[in-house]
């Protein structure tokens, strides 16, 4: 890589488009991921996350548009891409009947790593993953979270510059999920760029920047803080043992753009928090509905997603 390229985006996609019979899976997608970022592709099932990942990994060719990853063109030089990145798909190819060590050796051989380099790097990665004592365990006998961490270790063994992770935490328990993210953060110190997709909207908060995907398009793209700042309105939480009645009284009240009934109260998006808090108190007291103190909260990425999609319809 030349010096001029060093500050170039680690991933750049322009007008990427992929159709499958009856559906445009990815629809004119633009992305720019900077070196050393953890960038999230966030959206529900069917939003186009996996198709985008596969095109960026050079395993699926786009119908239109172009993309470069680690400086290599995914259409003209897919082999160049594959040698400098790592792609961990939802069904990452671990050999269930091989041990942890044997799986690592397999991937190291695939990328032509020497024995010494492999040993040093594997030891460090396994330690970071909290798996040092499981080297001789058969991969098929690991828990879901441990398998994911082994997959990540194998994906990192050849020092890729860009790591593409397709829904690595789906179905993983919360403790392993947290460990997994700590490993990702530790990679940032080595200036690895990470593009990660997830259907968990709460996971978006962990990314340095993210693109919110829906129906093949990027709806919003920015840092989580910036996205929240852009959301108009505040979230008010009204705790009540009679949440349903609160919801009925307030859902169509003045200044309320959305009302969601949750387990122990109601979440409302409002235009002007102090004014609406006073108004809600009056309305609920008039209706003799008991409630606890009304508090304001930061909007979640889910609130943002819902507000944005609703604004478009």
């Amino acid at each position: 890589m030349g010096i001029a390229e060093a500050s170039a985006p680690a991933v750049r996609a322009e007008g990427l488009l992929k159709r499958f019979p009856g559906v445009t899976a990815v629809d004119h997608l633009n992305l720019e991921v900077h070196p050393g970022e953890i960038f999230g592709l966030v959206g529900p099932d069917g939003a186009g996350k996996t198709t985008t990942m596969r095109m960026l990994a050079g395993v699926l060719s786009p119908d239109e548009g172009s993309a470069t990853v680690a400086g290599f063109d995914v259409v003209r030089d897919p082999e160049g891409v594959k040698n400098h990145i790592s792609y961990m798909s939802q069904r990452f190819g671990l050999y269930e009947d091989l041990t942890v060590d044997e799986n690592i050796r397999f991937y190291a051989d695939l990328f032509g790593l020497g024995r010494r380099e492999r040993e040093e790097h594997a030891a460090r990665l396994l330690k970071a993953a909290g798996m040092a004592e499981f080297r001789d365990r058969i991969a098929g006998k690991l828990s879901g979270g441990m398998k994911q961490k082994l997959g990540l270790t194998c994906a990192l063994i050849h020092h890729p510059r860009v790591l593409l992770l397709d829904e690595p935490t789906t179905g993983v328990d919360p403790v392993s999920r947290r460990d997994f993210w700590q490993i990702l953060y530790s990679l940032l110190r080595e200036n690895v760029t990470i593009l990660i997709s997830t259907a968990y909207l709460d996971e978006a908060e962990r990314c340095s920047r993210l693109a919110l995907l829906f129906k093949g398009r990027v709806m919003l793209c920015d840092s989580p803080d910036e996205l929240k700042r852009r959301m108009r309105g505040t979230v008010l939480i009204v705790p009540s043992t009679r949440a349903r009645e609160v919801h009925e009284v307030l859902a169509n009240a003045e200044g309320v753009s959305s009302s969601v009934l949750v387990g122990d109260g109601v979440h409302l998006v409002v235009d002007d928090a102090p004014r609406r808090i006073a108004q809600f108190r009056k309305q609920l007291e008039a209706a003799s509905i008991p409630f606890d103190s009304i508090g304001a909260s930061e909007p979640s990425i889910e609130d943002l997603f819902v507000a944005y999609v609703q604004a478009q319809h």
């Binding site: 069917g46 879901g144 993983v172 403790v175 999609v309």
Partner: protein
């Protein structure tokens, strides 16, 4: 059954144990759910959620303990239990090559809904699920959120008083998910008791009562707000500072900090005493050449609570042993 005749407690579980050989999948769990309550089982895969639910549905016999569902004992009256419950799983078992109305008719037959009322029940299910005008659509062509509401309609055709939902909205878009949960809250208001199992923290927020399950045990039980009020070990702080890496390394060595972790563009710290930490940390960071931008206490998420309880040794249970 009228409201007066229906017992207030619709699910009651006492000291339930299920062993498979040497493995204890469910380890002495107890809880009860009242009529019209939405109760969530939150826990990782393999925690014992599915086993517990299969016992509650009368599909699996408990090793020991008692389970009463809709007033019937699952060990002796499993058939009666099954007539009073509905079940919907994440892999909605719908026939993709049948039309919407045909799927409903099929499940109506399966649940022995009398023929003279089946049309009326199918119509009601279509209205509830918001599928009017789509009765003759092929099920396979429906979007995820629609399929999910159809599956719910199928599970309710025989008017069960208790509904079991197994990760009902995994992967569904947030708008469909909110619509789905509105329906569930309507059902609960009409007196149906809902038991949900999930490993999605945000799905758990919709429940009135939550049991956090880990390794076959209930490690915490309460409303989402109650569970979030406190971390056992102290308080959670958000620190925005620059640069993050050196800040993390320094804070890991700070005696007031029990745990430090990167979270997006900031750090999350678990501390024993929030006030003391907030007073001392800015100077501590400055001494380590880190500029702090923001420092505040934040409410823990359900995930924070879960991770703390799941990673700590099972002290609460051990302490009970003589």
């Amino acid at each position: 059954m009228t409201a007066e005749e229906t017992p207030a407690i619709s699910v009651e579980v006492r000291d339930l144990v299920k062993r498979f050989g040497a493995f204890t999948a469910v380890d002495r769990i107890s809880f009860s759910a009242s009529r019209g309550e939405i109760m969530g089982f939150l826990g990782p895969n393999g925690a014992g959620k599915s086993t517990a639910i299969r016992i509650l549905c009368g599909l699996l016999r408990p090793t020991s303990g008692s389970v009463r569902v809709a007033g019937y004992d699952v060990a002796t009256d499993a058939d009666a239990v099954r007539q009073h419950i509905g079940y919907m799983s994440q892999k909605f078992s719908l026939y993709n090559d049948l039309q919407v109305a045909e799927n409903l008719r099929f499940f109506g037959g399966l649940y022995s809904v009398p023929r003279n009322i089946i049309d009326e029940r199918i119509e009601a299910a279509i209205q509830m699920a918001g599928l009017a005008g789509h009765e003759h659509d092929m099920t396979g062509t429906l979007a995820g959120g629609w399929k999910q509401r159809l599956a719910l309609g199928c599970a309710l055709l025989h008017r069960p008083s208790i509904l079991f939902l197994d990760e009902p909205t995994s992967g569904v878009d947030p708008i469909s998910r909110r619509t789905f949960w509105d329906l569930i809250h309507d059902l609960a208001a009409s007196g149906v008791t809902v038991i949900v199992s999930t490993h999605y923290m945000d799905e758990a927020e919709y429940c009135n009562q939550l049991a956090l399950i880990n390794r076959g045990r209930i490690v915490a039980l309460g409303s989402p707000a109650e569970l979030k009020t406190h971390l056992r070990r102290g308080a959670l702080l958000l620190v925005k500072c620059q640069p993050l890496g050196p800040a993390l390394e320094a804070l890991e060595q700070n005696p007031d900090v029990l745990d430090a972790a990167v979270f997006g563009n900031a750090l999350h710290l678990t501390v024993r005493d929030a006030d003391r930490a907030i007073a001392s940390i800015p100077q501590f960071l400055a001494d380590h050449h880190v500029q702090s931008i923001e420092l505040k206490e934040i409410p823990p998420s359900l995930e924070d609570v879960f991770v703390e309880l799941a990673s700590a040794p099972p002290a609460a249970n051990e302490a009970r042993a003589p």
